[in-house]
Amino acid sequence: MRIAFTVNGRLHELDIDPGEYLLEVLRRIGYKSVRRSCNSASCGTCTVLLNGKPILSCSTFAVSVDGQNIETVEGMADGDKLHPIQEAILEEGGAQCGYCIPGVVMTGEALLRENPDPSDEEIRLALNGNICRCTGYEPQNRAIKKAAQVMRGEIDE
């Protein structure tokens, strides 16, 4: 069957199998940042934004995003200029193996759009579904906090 949806503002029209998951389809059309880990909606690695809200692409049927907007981490940087969350993750040591990072960035972005000044507890709660086996979470939590400050204009980039 044929569906059409935008990814990072670019329209894609393509044939899919009705049972195909969004994760597979996104990887097939080149969005390799979307990664498979647990494949059962319990680790957050494959998180993308659907109309601005974080969803788990490993358990979302591709057909259900027909006509809608998807955002992935490939669309976050502005040319060579990183998004404040990406920059803060680098500065705080929030990326080790990096496999979880696209999911963490997208979930963090969704949080900061909704709540530009989250408390430590709100950051933990919002990103609780994003498992990271490498960092011990502290550097990533700090990074989201710092990015929020940058985005609010309170500290320089």
Binding site: R36, C38, E74, E87, L90, G98, V105, T135, P139
Partner: protein
Amino acid sequence: MNDSFVTIGKPMKKVDGLAIVRGKPAYTPDYDMPDALVVKLLRSPHAHAIIRSIDSSQALSIPGVVGIFTYQDVERVPYTRAGQGYPEPSPYDTYLLDRKVRYVGDPVAVVAATTEKAALKALRKIKVEYETLDAVFDMKEASKEGSPIIHDESDCSGVYDNSRNIAAHFVMDIGDVEKTLEECEFVIRRTYHVDTQLHAALEPHNALTYLDPVGRLVVISSTQVPFHCRRILSRILKKPIAEIRVIKPRIGGGFGGKQSVIAEPYAALVTLKTGKPARIAYTREEVSMATNIRHEMSYDVIVGAAGDGKIKAISLHGISNTGAYGEHCLTTFMVSGSKTLPLYNKVDAVHFGGDIVYTNLPPAGAYRGYGAPQGLFPLDCAIDELAYEMKMDPLKLKEMNSIREGETSPIFEIMGEGREGVPQIMRSCKLQECIDLGRKAIGWDSKWGKKKRNGNKVRGVGCALAMQGSGIPKIDMGAATIKMNEDGSFNLLVGATDLGTGSDTILAQIAAEVLTVPLEKIIVYSSDTDLTPFDVGAYASSTTYVSGNAVRLAAEKVKERLLDLAAVYFEKDRSELTLESAEVRSRDGSSVSLSELCTMHMYTFNQQQISESASYVGEESPPPFAASFAEVEIDTDTGKITLVNFVSYADCGLALNPIQAMGQLEGGSMQGIGWALYEDIIYGKDGRMLTNDFFTYKVPSRMDYGKLTCSLVDSYEPTGPFGAKSIGEIGIDTPIPAISNAIFDAAGIRLRHAPFKSERVLFEILNMEV
């Protein structure tokens, strides 16, 4: 001491950081190979069985199925999947495919198909007739008479005693423990048991294989050990090493789980059988139940002390569960003694020993800590119990008996990696500083022994000390090649594998510091067995210390070459020249930039390529040290354990990159916290792992801890590159004993079986009330 360095000791951003945060294709599954066959494995549903027959005819008729291979199609070559020094101290007890299966998940057949759908369909259509055998799951039952024999084949080698399922056995004694105990005023005899753990690296095991235009086998794999992988593939596929190339892209986490050669051979087999590219990607279920897990261990521990608190005798006698195959079986067990017992070095007598046994469970293997946390749990907690018996502050008791700078332990010499070790003196040991800082940070003096109660909540604190190592001395080797480009940049080629630890960055920092260039002038490539020099790989906390020393030596050689060539160029004596800030400067004030010098050297003047290699093998393995403290709150109505705060201070020598070093300590601590409190593997009665996904196997998340406070103390290890030791593993050693001790301080309950599930606490509370 950091101030004299430009790049070393600075919180440099990761050299691969930009790619990582932008989600660039970097990992094995990101490689496109449109015509690659999909490889799937049919796995045994039985824990122990003989395959009577396999009928693949129906499956082969499915459109898209290209081939199905069973034990009848592969040569029978016993080997070990363990990626470790060669010859391996692990038994050759594994076969690519065998007529016998030894755990639920053991591969039975390899399916190759053009689509995943066809491959999955074929798995369902292969008909296998099994003759099931009795199985043994309890490691304490495994070596008893009448237990089913798991490795009854005649062609396996290196097994200690097949007939009793004992894969390996080790005993060592210093002095006479029982006799020394008679002189001790206080003696603690206990049994401690720690369950297994899953690595749960987010990137599943996977590999892509193909034949290059001249017929060499190329393997792209998420592996910690590309060179061991090449050697093992050569053995089992009967293909010369020269005809195999292993490429390691970025790795999405390893923790030891990718230190064994697990998925690669099946894809390679398909490529060799069909001539076509092949891709294998394990599902999460397969990663959990059919790669490696941690060795479950149980120890009878004895600690004896004189009335003044001097610990005089320690005995650790245990059993380790290696599952169906013996990869890393002897060495993980030995490490549980060799990386823990020297910590308490003022003793008169030590015993360490026991058996590593086969069971019909998933094979255990290398896992961060590599046995040390399994040994530290009984050792540290028994000393903690001893302190309470003596009515003494346990931190004080551990402090007064533990090793310090300038001291040694005979154990270093006795126990090595599957053989004797090497003697060493602690040239750097800031354990006392770790203790002092941690004690203050947790508020030990105001909290320990105070039994703070608030309604049904009680709080307590616990401590644990740990040491690890830095590489395997006199066995494991790392090498580096540095090649200079005409613009003054350098290619750093290493066989070391960055599994996310930041080692590519740290190795680049070492080269940049020696060559006095900015970090961005060092272009790291790791690793490719065709292009990069030999390195045993990333394990045993070795990359910074072993591979780092190799990089330092290679960079120094390049520096010497540069100065020699500059001397010819300047027509000056070599002794008048120095390399500073990417320039060769002469005493008379003239200078030439590295880019200018090298451009000339390559194109017009004295035309030469500057390229140097160096190797390093550690003569010793300087341990990092840590002091960790846990504060827990127990709900006495429900048994719920809340980790309020976890504080860990570590001495890793000079931290070459403090952000990355801290990340290792924080990440290791969290993995240890998960193992202590949440991560619990459950098997069915048939030996099937029931917790083989992230729904049922609880990896800790952001809401599962209170505070995590990690810090490094300043230290300098003279044998390390720029004073560095390791930091990769030590973080995982302390959470289990520290949390166990804190639970006792809070609730008066000694949990001697990890993980510490809330129901275990509750049952103990109910027992006490009865």
